[in-house]
């Protein structure tokens, strides 16, 4: 069993334990044990639009993983993007020494030895193990939405096609489910846009959900996508009942296919029934 350091990010840590627990449970099945990185803070993203201290936050988090001796696993696109860019920026030795002067004050140091992997990247490296663990057929149509910021900029992300990503599709196909095409597959969910303009952000989400409606479930791999597409569905007039599209995080879907109890994946009874039918 390989151990890695989990960086859940603010949203998942504080609001979406379901995504975190499903991730831990499913990765254990494929031979990866996740330990939360103690003292981890915000990745730094919200600071970048205002000042350069975002780099200190990112470096701080990287140094915590380095202290554990673990590579880092991320669950959100935004955190992944920021940490990867910080990691690249800190290859510059003079910038690194400058940041280390701050980290030294709290007894930390960053040497540039930590790898950052988004969950999708880690899972696509374990397709054979995933296939072996499937114990339940899911005869459902799945729409996937890709974590934009974990794929771009491609010179740093590198593990997938940056404009027509395939990794999530391959992961869902590995558990035997049917991945459907839909027009808005490559469009952003609207979550970050919502911060600047609620109407435009929700409109992006509405278009995505309408387009993904050809599927039985929409699957994401980012706290921001899950926030806008699932939790904000109510704001789009799709709060409940037959109008609501089931939206799961990727490990929740994988866990259901592995026969893991829905409670252990944080999947509610209505969604479980809708996806698994009478086989539950």
């Amino acid at each position: 069993m390989r151990t890695m350091g989990l960086f859940p990010g603010c949203l998942v840590l504080q609001r979406m334990p379901q995504y975190e627990k499903a991730t831990k449970r499913v990765l254990r099945e494929v031979g990866v044990h996740l330990e939360n990185i103690p003292d981890a803070a915000c990745c730094g993203a919200p600071l970048e639009s205002f000042n350069d201290k975002w780099l200190h936050f990112a470096a701080y988090n990287l140094s915590l993983a380095e202290r554990m001796g673990r590579d880092m696993v991320t669950l959100c696109g935004n955190c992944t993007n920021v940490l990867l860019r910080a990691r690249a920026a800190l290859d510059d030795t003079s910038l690194r020494s400058e940041v280390n002067e701050t980290l030294d004050k709290i007894g930390l140091h960053y040497d540039g030895r930590v790898e950052v992997r988004h969950l999708v990247q880690l899972l696509v490296e374990h397709l054979d193990e995933l296939r072996e663990k499937v114990s339940r057929e899911l005869p459902i149509k799945v729409a996937v939405t890709h974590p934009c910021q974990a794929l771009r900029p491609s010179e740093l992300a590198r593990f997938d096609d940056p404009l027509k990503p395939q990794a999530m599709r391959r992961i869902v196909e590995a558990i035997g489910a049917d991945v459907v095409d839909y027009d808005a597959e490559h469009d952003c969910c609207g979550s970050t846009l919502y911060l600047a303009d609620e109407r435009l952000g929700l409109e992006a989400g509405r278009r995505k959900l309408d387009s993904a409606g050809v599927a039985d479930v929409l699957v994401d791999a980012c706290g921001n996508c899950q926030l806008l597409l699932d939790r904000f569905q109510g704001l789009l007039g799709k709060s409940s009942g037959p109008g609501k599209l089931a939206v799961l995080t990727l490990p929740q879907l994988l866990g259901l296919a592995m026969g893991i109890d829905a409670d252990d994946l944080g999947v509610g009874p209505a969604t479980t029934r809708a996806l698994l039918g009478s086989s539950v």
């Binding site: 840590l13 334990p17 803070a41 919200p46 200190h56 701080y60 404009l163 600047a196 303009d197 992006a204």
Partner: protein, 129 residues
């Protein structure tokens, strides 16, 4: 940033408009940094979904992200972004932290989160303008 530095960032832009074509904000009727790059005056550097498609498709390798970040520091921030900033400055997280964080985690059978100590947040922010 000086005007000269911004000019250097913009130097390779040919205003071909590919960035604007792939921008979801533009498709939704808003005007993002890609409108600025195409020479328009009506845009907001904050209107962005952070999807990075514009930079990915740019044939000239223009660092659109850096241009946008510089422009943001000159423009009034929207309330949502400002709230995230205030939370990070105060708690070290984009969302406010209280006891309910670990209650929710315990309910889901997860270990309590060990959060960043407040004095470390201050150290990381030292010298902030």
């Amino acid at each position: 940033m000086s005007g000269g530095e911004m000019e250097a960032l913009l130097e390779d832009c040919t205003q071909c408009g590919l960035c604007r074509e792939v921008c979801i904000v533009e498709r939704l009727g808003g005007h993002s940094i890609t409108s600025f790059l195409c020479g328009e005056e009506e845009y907001s550097s904050w209107l962005c979904s952070s999807c990075w498609r514009c930079q990915e498709v740019c044939p000239q390798g223009v660092d659109i992200h850096s241009i946008m970040m510089e422009k943001r520091r000159e423009e009034e921030p929207p309330a949502g972004h400002e709230l995230n900033l205030v939370n990070v400055l105060r708690f070290g997280y984009a969302l406010p932290v209280d006891d309910s964080v670990n209650e929710l985690r315990r309910f889901h059978g997860l270990d309590e989160a060990q959060l960043i100590p407040g004095e470390w947040v201050e150290i990381l922010l030292q010298g902030q303008e």
